[in-house]
Symmetry: C2
C-alpha cells in the first residue's frame, strides 16, 4: 500500500467512527471537512519518517499520521470562521461554516480534535511509553503555548513576532509530524525535529508567496489574506526574490538535516518530490 | 488531601503548563475559563469512584479527573458563544467571549480540549492498556457521535429526541467520569456506567428545573434558555412536579446502583451529599 492509500484509509476509518444518522448534519460536515483532502503533507511526512526509521508495525504510525491530519483539518475549519479569517472557500469548495453554518463548523472543529486523540489512542496501544510520547508530542504541536492554537492566538496580540508566530502556527505541526513518525517507529525523536522545523518554515514561506503570487482558482482559497489582515509575511518582509531564496535555502537545509537511518535515500527522494510542489508555478516560470 | 484539593491542584498544574507571556490574552483566557470553578461535580465523581474502588496510585485518577473538567470547561466556553447560546454570563462573571472576544474564546475552547488529552497522557503513563482505555472512554464522552459535541449538534437537527439529546449533551460525560474513575483504579468500568448515566440524567433534570425556577443571580448564568431556544426540557415535558419526582427517583436509583466495592459506604454518602445540591432551593422550600 502507498503512503497515500494508508492515509486515506485510516482517515476514512476514523471519520466513519464519528458518523451517526441521528446527528446527520455534524456527520456530513465531518466528512466534508476531511474529504477530499489537500496534499496531506503532514501525514505523508509522518509516515515517510516512520518508514525511513525502519517501521515494521505500521499501526502506530498510521494512527499518528491520521491524528495529525485530523487536527490540521480542525484548524482549517476554525480558522475559516467569521471571527478569524472569514474565508468562504477552502480546497476549492465552500468553507464548512458557509456550507453548514457557524454552529456546525464550531462543533466540527471540536469533534475533529477529539477524534484525533481518540484515533491515536486506538492505534498506538502496544506500549504505554510510546502512546504517552505520541500523545505529548502531538498535543504540544497543536495546543498552547507553542502549537497551532497559540499561533492563531498571536494574531490577537498587539505585536506579532514573525518567527515565533509562524513557528507556532505552521512549524509546530511539521515538527510534530517528524517526531511522531520517529516515535511510532521506536526511534529517538530528537534528531528528527530539525527536519520538521525546516520543512514547516519552508512551507510557511511558500504559503506566504502563494498568497501574493497565485490566483484564488489555483489555491482553492481566498488570496491576499496576509496583507488584508496585516499579518506578518515572509513575502512582505523579504520581498518575492528574498522569500524565494529563503525557501530554496530551507528546502536544501531540510534535505541535509535527515539523520542517519535505514531508509535515508528514499526519504531524501520523497522530501525532494514533496518540496518541489512548494514552489508556486509563477516562481518556477520566472526562474526559467 | 481532600478530593477538592486534588482537583484544584491538578487543574492549576495543567493550566500553568499552557501559559506563556507571549500569547498573553489566550493565557489569561485559559485561566479565566477554568478558575474559579463551579462545583466540579464531574471530577469529584471521577475521584470518588476511583477512591471507592480502592485506588492507591492517585496520579491516573487525578489526570483523568482534570481532563474531564477541562473538557467540561471547553464545552461551556464554546456553548456560550454567539453562534450557540449567546450567553453573556457564566459562573457569575462575563462569558469568555464577552471578556476576551470571539477569536480568543474559540481558541480557548480548542486549547482546553488539547490540554485535557495532554494532561491525561502525562498522568496515566504506567500502563498502556489503562492509558488507552482512559483515552477511549473520555474521548467517547465528549466527541461524535455520542458525546457532548454530538449533544450540541442535536440542537442543529429539525427534531430533537429528549433522551438521546440529554444523554449525549450531559449524560455522556458523567458516564465518562465514573468509568474513568474505575479504570484509573484498575477496576472494571462496565458496572460503573449506570451510576454515571443516572447521575447525568438527574443533573440534567435538575438543570432544566433551575432554568425555570431560579434567578440569574442564583445561577450565575442566564435563565429561561430552554424555552427561549425551544429546546426539549424535562420541566416542560413533565411539569415541575413531575420533573421533581423524576429527579428524586433518579437520585435514589443512582445511589442503589453503586456496585460492590471497598469504599461503597463512603461513596454512597458522597453521592447523597452531592445530589442534595441538585435540588433547587425553591423546590426544597415548596416540599417543606
Amino acid at each position: 500500500m502507498t503512503l497515500t492509500d494508508r492515509i486515506e484509509q485510516s482517515l476514512a476509518q476514523a471519520v466513519e467512527r464519528a458518523q451517526s444518522p441521528g446527528v446527520s448534519r455534524l456527520s456530513a460536515a465531518l466528512h466534508y471537512a476531511v474529504f477530499p483532502g489537500g496534499h496531506r503533507i503532514r501525514p505523508q511526512l509522518c509516515l515517510a519518517v516512520a518508514e525511513a526509521c525502519g517501521d515494521r508495525d505500521t499501526r502506530a504510525a498510521d494512527a499518528a499520521a491520521s491524528a495529525i491530519e485530523l487536527l490540521h483539518c480542525a484548524s482549517l475549519v476554525h480558522d475559516d470562521m467569521p471571527c478569524f479569517d472569514d474565508a468562504f472557500l477552502r480546497r476549492g469548495k465552500p468553507s464548512v461554516h458557509v456550507e453548514f453554518g457557524e454552529p456546525i463548523a464550531l462543533l466540527t472543529g471540536d469533534a475533529l480534535i477529539v477524534l484525533a486523540f481518540e484515533t491515536l489512542g486506538l492505534g498506538a496501544t502496544r506500549s504505554a511509553k510510546r502512546l504517552a510520547a505520541l500523545l505529548a508530542t502531538i498535543a504540544t504541536a497543536v495546543g498552547a503555548p507553542n502549537g497551532i492554537v497559540a499561533g492563531q492566538a498571536w494574531e490577537c496580540e498587539t505585536a506579532i513576532p514573525l518567527r515565533e508566530y509562524q513557528r507556532a502556527k505552521t512549524g509546530a505541526l511539521f515538527v510534530g509530524a517528524t517526531a511522531a513518525g520517529a516515535i511510532a517507529a521506536r526511534a529517538e525523536p530528537g534528531p528528527w525535529r530539525a527536519l520538521g522545523a525546516l520543512l514547516g518554515e519552508a512551507y510557511q514561506v511558500a504559503d506566504d508567496l502563494r498568497d501574493v503570487l497565485c490566483s484564488q482558482e489555483e489555491l482553492g482559497k481566498p488570496i491576499g489574506q496576509d496583507a488584508a489582515r496585516l499579518r506578518p509575511s515572509a513575502a512582505a518582509q523579504l520581498g518575492i526574490g528574498g522569500a524565494k531564496a529563503r525557501l530554496e535555502h530551507l528546502v536544501q537545509a531540510a534535505v541535509q538535516s535527515i539523520p542517519e537511518c535505514p531508509g535515508a535515500d528514499r526519504l531524501r527522494a520523497r522530501i525532494e518530490a514533496q518540496t518541489a510542489m512548494f514552489f508556486p508555478k509563477q516562481l518556477a516560470r520566472e526562474a526559467a
